[in-house]
């Protein structure tokens, strides 16, 4: 019975956390974009435009759902739902605090990667199912991009597993003790390239979430809106929300693996607030980057992956193995 109540409260909690994030990250992004560009961003609906997400949501929900004539109906309909599933599901494994975790899996890391790759699949389904050439190109791009970036990402994750000897996310955090020099990003005694490794992981999570400068899938300059060109109303809304959900997941994972999760950087009051602080800082960096850089080309992106990220993560893997053996 107790377990049931616990599960129920976690479900409600996650749903609330997710909903709040999806709505207000959009607001944060628009407000941030505004201020990066010498303007103010949304400010008319509610104080500081805080009710803007509600207005947007209402607008999207009240729109008519149109299925294009030559779309594959089933695929077209299931793509936006499919993209939300892993995003929501993965919250189950994220340890927000030492005891604030819905379910501790001892293979949490693997699960994260396994489900995250469903996102790429749903983009392909959405792109293919729309029956639109722009969407199709975007879908193909997004998939090959995801494939290219999962390699360095996994290599980096293996690195962490080698250091901590565990795939349990909470265990990984626990091993990075309090004080920030114990975080994996600064574990120079395990491999001197750990900060670089963090950068690699960060870039990969940028690419995984399909955000500028790696938004090849939806680059509005070339492919109109990429894989969600044909989606309107809540279909589009789900794609947009999934982007933010993936953003939160990606940043959470980076926080867990490299920045010590809920551990305190100064040794006092460890808890979920540190987790959220670190995660939102990374989210902010994502927003910041988005409104600073232009988009890369597809070749530029693959070049980056194969010429820089993969060699670096491989070298790092070797170094870690060496360090662990020697020291």
């Amino acid at each position: 019975m107790n377990e049931l109540i616990r599960l129920l409260s976690y479900m409600i909690g996650i749903a609330a956390f997710l909903g709040l994030n999806l709505a207000y990250l959009g607001w944060v992004e628009r407000k941030g974009a505004g201020h990066f560009q010498r303007r103010t961003g949304p400010k008319e609906v509610g104080p500081y435009g805080l009710l803007q997400p509600l207005a947007d949501g209402l607008k999207l929900m009240s729109k008519q759902l149109i299925i294009p004539a030559n779309a594959d109906k089933a695929l077209y309909m299931c793509a936006p739902i499919l993209i939300m599933v892993p995003a929501v599901l993965l919250f189950v494994a994220i340890p927000f605090g030492e005891h604030l975790v819905p379910r501790e899996f001892n293979f949490g890391l693997i699960m994260m990667f396994a489900f995250a790759s469903v996102g790429g699949l749903s983009i392909l389904i959405g792109g293919w199912g729309s029956g639109n050439k722009y969407s199709l190109i975007a879908g193909a791009r997004a998939v090959s991009q995801n494939v290219a970036y999962e390699i360095p990402m996994l290599l980096t994750a293996i690195n962490i597993v080698m250091i901590t000897g565990s795939m349990d996310l909470n265990e990984i955090i626990r091993q990075q003790g309090s004080y920030f020099w114990n975080w994996n990003i600064f574990r120079l005694d395990k491999s001197v390239l750990m900060p670089v490794s963090f950068l690699v992981f960060f870039i990969c999570s940028l690419a995984e979430t399909n955000r500028t400068p790696f938004d090849m899938g939806e680059c509005e300059g070339e492919l109109v809106a990429g894989y969600h060109t044909e989606y309107g109303g809540m279909g589009f809304g789900l794609f947009m929300m999934a982007e933010y959900a993936n953003l939160v997941i990606g940043c959470s994972l980076t926080t867990i693996l490299f920045l010590g999760g809920w551990q305190s950087p100064i040794g006092i009051w460890p808890g979920p607030h540190w987790f959220l602080l670190k995660m939102y800082f990374l989210v902010w960096c994502f927003v910041w980057i988005r409104w600073t850089y232009p988009r890369t080309t597809f070749w530029g992106l693959l070049n980056l992956s194969w010429k820089y990220l993969i060699p670096f993560s491989l070298v790092n893997l070797l170094l870690t193995a060496l360090f662990i053996k020697v020291f």
Binding site: Q37, K133, P213, G221, E222, P294, T296, T297
Partner: protein
């Protein structure tokens, strides 16, 4: 033969870029035959905003044709004003007062900066960076305010008149312009830091869309496209009009022939325009701004006349055939974008889609001017 050998049967598909597409800033349509991500053939299709300005020139009096000049290239309308004024003044042999000529140059150069600023911002937006556009817009607003205070309009200027300009400039405008230049100069290095030096942008522009000087010649491409191909050709220098010979400025030329070169030409031209404006303000003589005795009902002599100016996008020239009446017998507008974009079909062959759009943006097309 292995089944992995490349098949000669290529599967291509057609893709429409435009007429309503975020990559084209107007209603340009490009019918692209794609082979995967590569372009097999890209055919620009024009005419979505065709308004037959040339016919309008035939059934309006010379004075009545003025407002059309603001509606061709809405971004550098003053250069177009300049061309029309020069054309009819050449036909009528009207001598323009010196002050008016200086005012013409000052406003035309302000207009050029404004046009390049928007070109810069919109180009980076094409490449996915939205922020530089807003910074460029901020500076551009300052210019629009200045030009509004003297011409009365913000975009579709109808400011020049045969024999001078419509309004004299006042001290507020002069101090405002000087203040603007003072404010604008330090902005350019910031743009270069934020955008030009960015490794992502360099990766997208360097070596993309090569257009050789010979190709420019064959297609009649002018302006930053030609100067980005290493040809030092600028009507302001090579075919001097107005008071440009009295002013000291450089023509930026880049030899790389790629999109980056064209982009850099525009950026450097803004600096040169600042120089021109400063000198013109220093040299600004007193006197009238309209020639005396310009008849209200103009009747240029018979014959055909030609005049060319350097607009923001290249050589804009007009040819008119006058039959001695109060309307033109034939008015021909040669717009730079028309020639510049005509080389797109040949140059874009075999390009990646994203490169082709970076290339198209570097040609900086303004569609109403192209369609006329």
């Amino acid at each position: 033969m292995s089944s992995l050998a490349q098949s000669h049967l290529r599967e291509t598909f057609e893709l429409n870029i435009g007429p309503q597409h975020p990559a084209t800033h107007g209603v340009l349509r490009i019918k692209v035959v794609m082979d995967g991500e590569y372009i097999d053939r890209a055919e620009p299709i024009l005419g979505y905003i065709h308004r037959m300005h040339e016919k309008m020139g035939e059934n309006r009096t010379w004075n009545q044709f003025w407002p059309n000049m603001g509606r061709l290239d809405y971004l550098s309308a003053i250069a177009y004003n300049h061309c029309y004024a020069g054309l009819v003044e050449r036909a009528m042999e009207i001598v323009v007062p010196e002050r008016a000529e200086y005012i013409r140059v000052i406003t035309a150069e302000l207009n050029r900066i404004q046009s390049h600023l928007l070109g810069f911002g919109a180009y980076i937006m094409d490449l996915g960076g939205f922020t530089p556009l807003m910074y460029a817009m901020d500076e551009r607003e300052q210019i629009l305010d200045l030009l509004e205070s003297v011409t009365g309009s913000r975009l579709t200027y109808c400011y020049f008149r045969f024999g001078g300009v419509y309004n004299d400039i006042d001290d507020d405008f002069i101090t405002g312009t000087r203040a603007f230049i003072k404010r604008f100069r330090p902005q350019i290095p910031i743009y270069h830091k934020l955008v030009t030096g960015n490794v992502i942008l360099m990766d997208r522009l360097i070596g993309v869309g090569p257009v050789s000087a010979e190709m420019c010649r064959k297609y009649g491409a002018t302006g930053p496209v030609l100067r980005g191909s290493g040809v030092n050709y600028d009507i302001r220098r090579n075919e001097p009009y107005s008071v440009y010979p009295e002013l000291d400025f450089d023509i930026p030329v880049y030899k790389e022939c790629d999109s980056m070169a064209r982009y850099m030409v525009r950026m450097d031209e803004m600096v040169q325009s600042c120089r021109i404006i400063e000198q013109a303000l220093d040299k600004l003589p007193e006197g009238p701004v309209m020639a005396e005795k310009v008849p209200k009902a103009l009747k240029p002599p018979k014959g055909d006349f030609h005049f060319a100016v350097e607009a923001a996008r290249g050589t804009f020239s007009m040819r008119t055939v006058s039959d001695g009446t109060n309307t033109s017998y034939r008015m021909r507008l040669r717009s730079p974008t028309y020639s510049n974009v005509s080389l797109f079909e040949e140059a874009s062959r075999g390009m990646l889609l994203s490169d082709a759009l970076a290339f198209l943006g570097s040609l900086d097309p303004v569609i109403p001017e192209m369609d006329r």
